[in-house]
């Protein structure tokens, strides 16, 4: 054996943080390497949203009136972006549940690495994957007639709001994944919880026609704030009606706020679960 020098773990807080980030990146690389082996994992973030774009644009598009006028397809795309970003939680939940079932988690837990790296690496990898999904959907949107009208900065800000919300969703997914026993359950729970959330919102239809109870839920739904923020930043139609709900009147602030609150709740909860969890 050649001279093997294992660096000692630093004690200074800043250095430790640097090491924790390095550990997270190592795990991120590992998760992204999985995609090369199982490319069908990308179907969730690519083909599925494209199908939704086409279905809604052509099937429902003719029947739905956008408040204040404007193209339904331009109204639709921010909704599709946000829905697909929300479903990121399911991808992460399944990934985490999978990891926790596999022996590799014992390897990670027996190594002197940052405890948080396994979860951070998972969420960062999933978020990276969703960037690809956003690119595919944007291209598809451009083909069906969607445009961002407010210049580069606002457009980037729109995607930034989406990705921040996506990051919050990956941590919600992490919590779900840590709380169930199998990837199948993670998938089911994620879907049952999130599917209605993406419909009881301003994603596909204007909220103003909904029964009062549903309308209130829709208008206060964090997803609606994110959709509205995108519509505002991209200059897409549908912002003529904002109702009485504060989040829809200040969608960017509301979306960012919701995302930060979700992160503040689910990061600590997930890390706590991870610390106490064993593979069984």
């Amino acid at each position: 054996m050649s001279a093997l020098q294992i660096p000692a773990r630093p004690t200074a807080p800043f250095e430790r943080l640097r090491w924790a980030i390095a550990d997270s990146l190592t795990v991120t690389r590992r998760n992204l390497a999985h995609i090369r082996q199982v490319p069908e994992k990308l179907l969730d973030v690519t083909i599925q949203p494209v199908i939704f774009v086409l279905l809604f644009a052509y099937v429902f598009g003719s029947a739905i009136q956008v408040p204040g006028g404007g193209s339904y397809r331009e109204f639709l795309l921010p909704g599709i972006f946000a829905q697909s970003i929300t479903f990121l939680a399911i991808t992460t939940a399944v990934g985490v549940a999978n990891d926790m079932q596999k022996g590799i988690i014992d390897r990670f837990r027996s190594l002197p690495m940052a405890r948080s790296a396994v979860l951070v690496g998972r969420t960062v990898a999933d978020l990276t994957q969703s960037v690809l999904g956003l690119l595919v959907m944007s291209a598809c949107g451009l083909v069906v007639g969607w445009r961002a009208h407010n210049g580069v900065l606002d457009t980037l800000a729109g995607f930034g709001v989406l990705l921040l919300f996506g990051f919050a969703m990956t941590w919600l997914g992490t919590f779900i994944g840590m709380s169930v026993r199998t990837p199948e359950t993670a998938n089911t729970i994620g879907f049952v919880v999130l599917f209605p959330v993406t419909f009881i919102a301003n994603t596909f239809v204007p909220t103003q026609g909904m029964p009062t109870f549903l309308r209130l839920m829709a208008e206060w739904n964090p997803l609606s704030a994110t959709v509205a923020a995108c519509r505002q930043l991209f200059g897409n139609p549908g912002m003529a009606y904002t109702g009485d709900a504060w989040p829809l009147q200040h969608p960017v602030e509301a979306s960012v706020g919701y995302s930060l609150i979700l992160l503040a709740i689910f990061i600590p909860l997930s890390v706590l679960r991870y610390r106490t969890a064993t593979t069984r």
Binding site: S2, I6, K102, G103, D106, R107, F108, S110, L111, P112
Partner: protein, 333 residues
Amino acid sequence: MRMGDLAVEAEGLQKRYGQTHALRGVDLTVKSGTICGLLGPNGAGKTTMVRILTTLLTPDGGQARVAGYDVVREAEQVRYRIGLAGQQAAVDELLTGRANLEMVGRLYHLSGRAARQRAEELLERFDLVEAAGRIAKGYSGGMRRRLDLAASLVAAPPVLFLDEPTTGLDPRSRLGMWEIIRELVAGGTTVLLTTQYLEEADRLADRIVVIDTGQVIAAGTADELKTTVGGEQIDVVVRDPARLADATTALRRAGGEEPQVDAETRRLTISVTGGVAALTGVLRELDAAGIEADDLALRRPTLDEVFLRLTGHVPDQIAEGAREEEPALAGVR
């Protein structure tokens, strides 16, 4: 380095899962540079023991030091000094063999170059060079275990925990694994291995600790265990079934004890002390009575018998390798 004479010292370890006591006060010491075999049936608490000593589980009671550091209070120091490989191979199935080892190297904060170099060394050492570029999912059971072991050795830890390292392996892979373990110990590594194969403990371990239902029920070298349980036996297979009764009388005269008789196989068994002298005595008595024997043997008890005597049940017959995985939750029956 604080590791003195003892690589592992556990005192009164307890662990409960709900109503089940997986460990009820286990003491265990392993001298540096030796192999300790933790032997016990399924659910005896072996895996729980390993998981506590490798910082994966927190004990409910008692304490343990590994390589001189407390497994609860100084877990990170412990993690720097241990390797863990087990029946549930802790490798990433979707990464190549090489990528698995490089990832572990990076998690020890080796530079990219050092991690690659270390991975190559280990791939070569464990005969995985050819498979290095393929993902671990397609590996055979033996290859997967070797990769798992290689991953646990990336930092060349002084203390190695092997949880049923050969369960489910074919006989050839098992012999290969034994060879590797012996080489590691020859190089100064301390090994704690759990097994339900008595032969494995017998052949590998310097010292054997037998646990059952979460308690240590015996400890010592294989020879010591065999001696505590009972001395030697003489087996006689009588040629003529009609002379079984006469043979019984002859053996009683020679040994003083009541022989066990198995009429179907014409086998008589008697416990003796004194080894070869006792054998001569039996021969003389049989000869005097004019009884012909097909077979006559002096034998020491096998560890199987030791095990049966100690635990009251026959060790699990899993040698066929039929069972790949056991529930990670030990202690449940």
